[in-house]
């Protein structure tokens, strides 16, 4: 436990003139019909809110909105962490950045902007990876709000927060509020680690797009995307092996585009464009300011209701997931529901998850498939059973020793119903699967 938490510089604000917070105080000082019994509107509640230390992960499209929203919701001690720098394509939605900021770190530019605009708010920025911070760091916060586009980073923080829960210490439970967007769609969710369904329980809501088989790319392309993937995966490797592909380098994208275009012409395929090349190679997801605003505000609204102990009912135990769709048949559609906790969740459950598998596959084919299976999505798995090591990605000696297993069939290596443990350098935990043979 961290006892020595630095005193926020704004503590005495509560006694100061609240003229600026007149509107917010209407809600903070009055009890409404949906206010929780545990919540006591009034000066104490205002103080609780201004003392609460909150962590924002990500200072991009969602993060910029989240920082602004928290600053204007009575939070005074906000921390933000992000490893990225500002790119020109961020400017259509990340409204705390200007053209002159391109190249600077997102976290510090965003923090300084909001501090300047909203007087009395302290925002501590950290430019770096979430994986570089330890449990002591995460323990100091009352709630964690994620505005990340990377699934991997969200799985990492989720597993960390679940791992931190100590049943004897209620303070060790850090509510996690998570938002994500894609085009006109998005989702906001609240996770009470170990108590409610966690990010990993919900992983199948983010099924990865099926990859195109390599043989299609190599011999029978039919779509412009196939030609681009061919240039990306096969041509670059064959012709420019010595260069490291930088998808942010226009010269590299141009090279891929020209290669893809020539291949498309050869097969009579129409439709390869520069923009499509960039989209496929960088796996670009469309993003707009308005969707970010909706999802970020939905997340901050939940954080506000949670930290105030229920100034109005919050998501969590009953409903915990809101799906938003702005491009459907009815214009605007939200579905707010309870996502159930899974007993076989590798992070918060205690049972091994069943995985159906064709036992005729080789271990290598199984490993390749793991990246795509919605319930696993592991790219560099190391696999072992209780007794034996099936395949190790590292160290090199162990890799070499286990490599021959790659060519062997699953049925030669495992029994039907046997449990395997899978670890991946991206995550600090083991994923347990019970292998059920389908044939």
């Amino acid at each position: 436990m961290v006892a020595a938490v630095a005193t926020p510089p704004v503590l005495n604000d509560v006694s100061q003139d609240r003229a600026r917070w007149k509107y917010l105080d209407n809600i903070l000082t009055r009890r409404g019909p949906f206010t929780d019994e545990q919540c006591n509107p009034g000066p104490d509640l205002i103080e609780t809110l201004s003392k609460a230390k909150v962590l924002v992960i990500g200072a991009g499209g969602l993060g910029c909105e989240i920082l602004k929203n928290l600053a204007l919701s009575g939070f005074k001690d906000i921390h933000v962490i992000d490893m990225d720098t500002i790119d020109v394509s961020n400017l259509n939605r990340q409204f705390l950045f200007r053209a002159a900021d391109v190249g600077k770190p997102k976290a510090s530019v965003a923090a300084a902007f909001v501090e300047r605009r909203v007087k009395g708010v302290s925002i501590t920025s950290h430019c770096g990876k979430i994986q570089d911070m330890d449990e002591e760091y995460y323990k100091q916060f009352q709630v964690v709000i994620c505005g990340l586009d990377s699934i991997e980073a969200r799985r990492w923080i989720n597993a960390t927060l679940v791992g931190m829960v100590d049943m004897d210490d209620p303070d060790s439970l850090k509510p996690m509020v998570d938002g994500g967007t894609e085009g006109f769609k998005g989702q906001a969710r609240v996770i009470f680690p170990s108590m409610t369904s966690c990010f990993e329980c919900q992983l199948d809501m983010h099924a990865p797009r099926a990859a195109v088989p390599l043989c299609t790319l190599a011999t029978i392309p039919r779509q412009p995307q196939h030609c681009i993937e061919w240039a990306h995966i096969i041509a670059w490797e064959a012709e420019r092996k010595e260069d490291i592909l930088d998808t942010d380098d226009p010269a590299h994208i141009t090279w891929l585009y020209e290669k893809a275009n020539a291949r498309a012409a050869e097969f009579g395929i129409a439709g390869v464009t520069y923009s499509m090349t960039q989209g496929v190679v960088k796996n670009i997801i469309p993003a707009i300011a308005s969707t970010n605003a909706i999802i970020a505000a939905a997340c901050c609204n939940e954080a506000f209701k949670i930290v105030t102990n229920g100034i109005a009912s919050y998501m969590g135990l009953e409903n915990n997931y809101m799906m938003y769709t702005g491009d459907g048949d009815s214009g605007v559609y939200t579905y707010t529901f309870l996502h159930e906790k899974k007993d076989d969740c590798p992070v918060c459950g205690n049972l091994a998850r069943n995985m159906e598998i064709n036992s005729e596959l080789t271990l290598e084919e199984f490993i390749e498939g793991l990246a795509e299976r919605p319930e696993a999505q592991l790219k560099k798995p190391t696999i072992r059973t209780e007794e034996k090591s099936l395949y190790y990605q590292a160290p090199p000696a162990l890799e070499e020793q286990t490599r021959p297993n790659l060519k062997r069939k699953i049925k030669e290596l495992l029994e039907d119903g046997e449990e395997i443990a899978v670890s991946d350098p991206a995550f600090q935990i083991d994923f347990k699967f019970k292998m059920v043979f389908s044939s």
Binding site: A19, R20, K22, Y23, L24, I27, P33, F34, K68, N69, S73, V88, S89, L91, N92, R93, F95, A99, R117, F184, I220, P221, R222, Q223, T254, Y257, N261, A264, F267, G268, A270, Y274, S275, Q278, I284, P286, A287, I288, A289, S290, A293, I294, A297, A298, C300, N301, E302, F304, A312, S313, N319, M322, Y324, D327, D329, S330, G331, V332, T334, T336
Partner: protein
């Protein structure tokens, strides 16, 4: 084959394309051009945040112009809820300050402001003329709201009327009488129209030619016949065994599926064939007649599309041309797209060209109908440009998914008057008994406007007084009284009788919402203002670009339950 495709000249992205890359992937250059042509007027009032948040989401993607009309000066309280103000803004006009800080977000956008009081502004003639879209935030004087609503309707200007109070918000859209959307962006899977049951001649011939040696093909070729051709092949076998009839019902379709499955070769190393798996998987969804939806039929049947009527806009001319096409062929024009499927490159491209050629033929036919209709049509200003082939092509591609919204005037409840629900009475009263609908919240907002208007300080009809601004308890009781009357009026007009306990439950839950609304005292919570500003901006973008389907016509936001709901009123 190579001469079919001319590689486009290398065109790296322009700086604008770079900046707008993530949104151009949603609404393309045509949508962006429409955005840049637009000029939105924000009539701001009250605590003034939701409209400014909406503008933020429109300035960032590059709307052409915006104008803020607001006569308020910046107070200390504004700084606690509105992000587009600074301490130095205190005492200055809110319109000017917000305009300045919004403009900073995007140098390509032109911002303007008017600090004249709303009453004198709207009293002048033709004041709405320069603006393409009007966004109003409540509360404003209801007489003025009614006047703007009427003028905007007359001039076919879309109006967005927004409430944002505490944990609640509401967006009401008033679209023109006929608001068509061609580019609705349906799910690509839904748009696929393969004509398996009723193949056109070229497709039938192509399939027969490509599958005539199916039995004697080597394994490689057999495993690469596109599934569409497999389905057509087995369908002709089925028909020859069933007096020329295709599978009619679910049972026959599953029998047909087994017939297709039985063609799979399994004596290969894979123990099966991917193209046959695809064919088997596609049977149930592909063996349907491509009938136009009831929504499309309704558009065909509308008065504007009638034979005796002269069509005056491109939309109606093309719709009538497509209607004629449908009457002659029994089907809509072919969209012409083909999903990816296991196949050799050459076979796939050939098949794709069969569909594309038919689509082009259909476009040409529709275009010739349209040209005939267009001739001699005296168009009313503002007249559309002459119909282009591109326009017809885009229309035909989306013909099965075009949408027509019939705009309705805003519902306004003035103090001491009874709201006339008219044709909305039935759906509104049904919504009241549906626990998933947020109808009670809509009633609370009607009550909110009525209360505010009744409590406006004398002589200042433009600055209504919000419930709960000073006396929470008393105002909450008054609001409860108004919503209860509204419920009874609505049920009476809908001739609907609800028994207890349901009746009391509806009254109780509506009263609770009215109380929660009163608790805010007319103030916005920044989170809800920001969330609603996002929804408003999405709807404005959809209406400006005429892409995607906008809300028809009221969207409610409940920040307590984290829910939204759309009502057609």
């Amino acid at each position: 084959m190579a001469d079919v495709v001319t590689p486009p000249p290398l065109h790296g992205p322009t700086s604008k394309e770079k900046k707008y890359d993530r949104q151009l992937r949603l609404w393309a250059a045509s949508g962006q051009a429409a955005l840049e042509e637009a000029h939105i007027l924000l009539i701001n009032s009250g605590t003034g945040t939701v409209g400014v948040e909406a503008l933020k989401n429109l300035v960032l993607p590059g709307i052409g112009n915006f104008t803020i009309l607001d006569s308020a000066t910046v107070t200390e309280a504004d700084l606690g809820v509105n992000f587009f103000l600074e301490d130095t803004s205190l005492g200055k006009f809110r319109a000017g300050e917000c305009c300045k800080y919004l403009q900073e977000l995007n140098p390509d956008v032109k911002g303007n402001f008017i600090s004249e009081p709303l009453e004198t502004f709207v009293a002048k003639p033709n004041v709405l003329q320069p603006f393409t879209h009007i966004l109003i935030t409540a509360p404003i004087a209801l007489e003025i709201l009614e006047k703007i609503s009427n003028d905007a309707r007359f001039q076919s200007r879309p109006v967005f009327y927004v409430h944002c109070v505490g944990f609640y918000a509401q967006l009401s859209l008033q679209l023109p009488d006929a608001f068509p959307i061609v580019d609705t962006h349906p799910d690509p899977e839904k748009m696929t129209d393969l004509r398996i049951l009723w193949p056109f001649r070229e497709l039938r011939e192509f399939a027969a030619r490509k599958t005539k040696d199916l039995g004697s093909m080597n394994d490689h070729d057999h495993g690469h016949v596109p599934y569409v051709l497999l389905l057509l092949h087995y369908l002709s076998i089925w028909k020859s065994q069933h007096n020329g009839r295709p599978p009619q019902n679910y049972k026959e379709k599953t029998e047909f599926r087994e017939l297709v499955r039985s063609g799979t070769r399994r004596d290969n190393p894979e123990g099966g064939e991917e193209n046959f798996d695809e064919a088997v998987g596609a049977v149930l969804k592909s063996l349907n007649l491509s009938e136009p939806s009831s929504a499309i039929k309704e558009i065909f049947d509308s008065a504007e599309c009638c034979i005796n009527e002269v069509q005056r806009t491109n939309f109606w001319i093309i719709t009538r041309a497509v209607k004629t096409f449908h009457q002659q062929h029994g089907s809509l024009p072919l969209p012409g797209s083909l999903p990816d499927m296991k196949a050799q490159s050459k076979d796939y491209i050939e098949l794709q060209n069969v569909y594309k050629a038919k689509a082009r033929k259909d476009v040409a036919e529709v275009l010739s109908h349209a040209r005939k209709l267009e001739k001699g049509v005296e168009r009313l200003p503002p007249a559309d440009p002459e119909i282009s082939e591109k326009e017809v092509e885009a229309f035909c591609k989306n013909a099965g998914f075009i949408k027509l919204i019939r705009g309705r005037p805003l519902k306004i409840l003035k103090p001491k008057e009874m709201l006339k629900w008219g044709r909305s009475a039935k759906s509104a009263s049904n919504a009241l008994t549906n626990p998933d609908s947020l109808m009670p919240l809509h009633l609370a907002f009607l009550a909110y406007d009525s209360f505010s208007a009744a409590h406006a300080p004398d002589g200042h009809i433009a600055t209504p007084q919000a419930p709960g601004a000073s006396d929470f308890e008393t105002d909450a009781q008054k609001m409860t009284g108004i919503v209860e009357t509204l419920i009874d009026d609505l049920l009476r007009q809908a001739r609907k009788f609800i028994e207890d306990p349901e009746y009391s439950e509806i009254k109780d839950s509506t009263a609770k919402i009215a109380q929660e609304m009163t608790r805010a005292g007319g103030a916005e919570l920044h989170n809800i203002a920001s969330l609603t500003g996002g929804i408003v901006a999405q709807e404005v973008i959809k209406v400006i670009t005429k892409q995607y389907v906008p809300v028809d016509n009221v969207c409610l936001v409940d920040g307590v339950q984290s829910k939204t709901s759309v009502l057609k009123l």
